[in-house]
Symmetry: C2
Subunit: 298 residues, 2 copies
């Protein structure tokens, strides 16, 4: 069924009658298609569902294209990013084309669906900005951080689940909560992997987030655990190229205060709640998607 | 009534509950609000009309923000552009926020309206890309150029007129043609002004387009008028910092072959047709908007 989604995306882009755009699109790595999988698992494979999955993946792709420009990222999903190969301008323009075609196709399906998805895209773009603003200085505010990852990562997953439930005529709320929990947990796990994995596995250097100014949850927890003088030390390393010794100090302190475990536990709790909701509804495939998410990191 | 549109835009942005975004938005010069004026002139001032005008102006603003990043523009409407002051990233993000909020608000009005506008935004973003691709080398193909300015500039004006006619329960086609003609003529006039006006009036240096690689209509006409050896000379100046002597040569040749007049006449014809359509419908204000457009340049 995921194949049908891929074909639908290619068809949507081919309809633009701009060869250049189609060729560029083909250079984008598809990724895991988590959002499309979710939608299909919730709502089956009618034409509207396939279209919605394609639309959401186009929107996700557009947001990643702009994201990589904003983050000066050179790689995406382990390969060179579009902005790295063709420049920022091409990435911006391709993102705009994918966004607008996705919105156009949405308007051909259903107004309620349009509202669910476009609301999410608005929050997503605000989340991207919050991410940048928070990265400008050392952020130790847990709530601000959580609000930002909800917007930046969780809203589109939440909206995918809600949109799919709507298309399937299912009750919206449990699916919305499921999507939200999964989305937040997904970002938390991503943030943890940046600390625990090395560059070859993830395609980017370890502790890259901190060097870029992103104080993700483990850093925030660590900060609040440290004595005053060591808080200063941690702050002093923020948004800098870290020396081997400094990276080791952060890793040691994180171990000492078990902040990775704390963040992992929090992500786990969110996923557990999501699984329970799906167990109550007898949604076996959605349980399994959530379980796989946990296994990704723990 | 234009005031009501300004307030609606500010309200839409305030609803995002992101102070930072509102402050940034306020730094954008409002411009002439041609699209909003058109919509109000066609459809009156009901709430849906005010909202639609606000949405279209937000979309136009978003496209200019991304445009200025793509064109490396330092000024917009005579003042420093957002990308020049706050950097490309801020301009990209603010553009994404305006686009997505606009689409969300569209989905709250009417699906047909959503389709009209989002189709236009798709073509607009393709037009932006075509503009960049055409600028990479010397383009002497008139049809390609006209297709590009239709997408880049005319589609959103065309869609504004069509959307307004739809809201007002008027026949769509004459308004669509009016908007299309006005939009193409508007861009042609803009291209001519780049050649005929000096930097103080327009806020950008004369012949800026050619230096950036844009062979607008007068250049295309000149190219096809020149003898082979002089075609070579013209090509040789393409996408380069022009010396005083070279600029003068271009201006002289353009005068000799009356290519400015030819382009002006073409724009005039389009506007004349637009005026005639509105005369037949007794739309006095729309006639006057079109007339003012002509007076802008001739």
């Amino acid at each position: 069924m995921l194949d049908a989604v891929e074909r639908k995306i290619e068809q949507f882009i081919a309809e633009l009658e701009d060869k250049d755009t189609l060729n560029l699109y083909k250079k984008l790595p598809a990724g895991k298609r988590l959002r499309a999988r979710l939608i299909l698992a919730i709502a089956g494979d009618s034409l509207s569902v396939i279209k919605t999955a394609a639309i959401v993946e186009m929107i996700h792709g557009a947001s990643l294209l702009h994201d990589d420009v904003i983050d000066d990222a050179n790689t995406r999903r382990g390969v060179a990013s579009i902005n790295a190969i063709y420049g920022n301008k091409t990435a911006i323009m391709l993102g705009d084309i994918l966004y607008s075609k996705a919105f156009y196709e949405l308007s051909n399906i259903d107004p309620k669906l349009s509202r669910i998805i476009s609301r999410a895209v608005t929050l997503l773009s605000i989340g991207e900005r919050q991410d940048v603003v928070l990265s400008e200085s050392f952020n130790s505010n847990e709530e601000l951080y959580k609000q930002m990852i909800y917007n930046k990562t969780a809203v589109l997953i939440e909206a995918s689940a809600e949109a799919a439930a709507y298309l399937a005529g299912k009750e919206l709320k449990p699916y919305r909560v499921y999507g939200k929990n999964l989305g937040i947990a997904f970002q938390m796990v991503d943030d943890i992997l940046d600390i625990t994995q090395d560059s070859t596995t993830l395609g980017k250097p370890a502790l890259a987030d901190y060097k870029e100014g992103k104080t993700t949850l483990p850093y925030i927890y660590l900060y609040h655990s440290l004595p005053k003088d060591e808080q200063k030390v941690l702050r002093g390393m923020h948004k800098k190229e870290l020396k081997e010794k400094e990276s080791r100090w952060i890793a040691q302190k994180m171990q000492e205060y078990k902040v990775i475990q704390k963040a992992q536990l929090e992500a786990k709790e969110l996923v557990k709640e999501a699984i329970e909701i799906m167990q109550n509804l007898g949604e076996v495939e959605l349980e399994s998607i959530a379980t796989k998410m946990i296994e990704r990191s723990f």
